[in-house]
Amino acid sequence: MPAPAISVRDLRKSFDEVEAVRGVDFEVEVGEVFGFLGPNGAGKTTTINMLCTLAKPTAGSASVAGFDVVGERDEVRRHIGLVFQDPTLDGYLSAEQNLRLHAELYGVQSDLVAPRMRQVLEMVGLWERRNGQVMTFSGGMRRRLEIARGLMHSPRVLFLDEPTIGLDPQTRRSIWSYIGLLKESEDITIFMTTHYMDEAEICDRIAIMDQGAIVALDSPEALKAGIAADRVQITTEDDQAAIAALADRFGIDAQVAEGQVTFSVPGGEEFVPRLFGELGVPIRSVSVSRPTLDDVFMSYTGSTIRDAEESADRQRSRMMMQVMTRGRR
């Protein structure tokens, strides 16, 4: 059993009185694509910053590629690649110049710079545009270039902080395909954060984070399987009568959502024939869907990811208000 790529023990981070990360524990194995899923403000970026040596933990410990993030900061930095949420390219330089600069800063062996550069640029489909000034690149091209740059020095662990935020669906899909390609071709572990459910699906394992703590950690399939119920949506002649009948005959609590009567039931497909036989209200259509990560998130946190973000925003603005009023006194 090789040593884990990332190992985290009771990691904590506080900013003034606010505890952003409240003691997280996990291990990421070599070669894994590991996702941190949670709403904005859940503490994902703070955790990633601690793992990348950009923030010092308040308590706890973490090691990346076998090196301690506090005691062996430089060692960690030499072995990781970083793609930040915000762009960090030099727009005045060409794509190639940006990569060359990175290679020099990381001390990449001179004779390997050119072949490696060609390889990473070809992977993200920017080899033809290598001489273009980055300023003229679209948002998606820049993100691809950042990923290529993060790979220039063959890192053991690649950190991607919200890799597809703000990108169009097509570019998002191509970035996911690079991640898949990387897994095959390079001996690399990928750690990413996201607040998109579909993005989390490409991970081998995901940790669901809410309010600074990990609330669930498993493969996407296992997490979804942990939710027994399927989601059933029906349209009927009389929705109110159908809801009443569902409560009456099956003991199911149904609601009208998106204009359809919606409820959760274990073994949804087997339930449909019974529904037709026993409901007593004419049914026009039925759809059964497997649980999604969205349902998983909801079952662990009691809110959808969107609601969680809104309440986090409210909390943040409340804290800001407190800080401001305190400052005035």
Binding site: L54, D86, T88, L105, Y106, Q109, R116, Q119, M123
Partner: protein, 287 residues
Amino acid sequence: MSTAVADVVRVRVPARSLRSELRAIRIVWKRELIRFANDRLRIVTALVQPLLFLFVLGSGLQRLSSGGTHGIDLKTFLYPGILCITVMFTAMFSAASIVWDREFGFLREMMVAPVRRSSIVIGKCFGGATVASFQGLIMLCLAWAVHVPYSLTLVLGIFGLQLLLAFSITAFGVMVAARIKTMQSFMGLMQMVVTPMFFISGALFPLVGLPTWLAVLNRLDPMTYAVDPMRKLVFNHLDISKPALHALDPGVTWFGWHVPALVEVAVVLLFGLVLLSIAIWEFSATE
């Protein structure tokens, strides 16, 4: 694509060494040069101010000042000071790029690299110094227009002095940029400091018969020690009378002692090195 999957180029990042630090310094320096070369507009705009001072002020005030210049063209007198301000303003802009880099996120790319922060800061200061000296070279080409004859010692001397001054000013700018987060406040602050430094340095007037307050400020201004040797260098190459030399190039005195040019150069160098150390310390302390 499939071939790329088959044979991956494996790269190893070596442990930190003097060599890797030197590579980092060199690439940060080189980046300044690339950006300068790409930005032709900046090369032109940076020339506007010095040219105004030299040709508009120099020609416009010629008649007023003709009594005091012993027949020397005012432009010739102003020339050494103008060589200094060209470098000062360009160096200031170079340092400002740190603030841009922070705003556009690129600073982060440099800050997370496995090299010392000092290497980044030193590379930046060398880059600013080189770029500003190139800008100075353009001004050097105008020597003929202000009746200064060319010679190898003159060109080398001026270039060396410009390099030194540019280095010190860039170090100053980088030190300020460590704390200032927005471009507006950075430019505002730099204008507030650099413009008085330039005016007080004696770039536009000879250091004779100054009121006491101005004389004191002048001796405290580090730029004085760059402008004065520059003027000595230029005037040594002119064929002018002793009284004219005394009136226009009296030199800097400390309590009556004539400060030699080498000491003046040392003052500028020391100024730059102290600011560089502060800048390194500030950048190492962040994050």
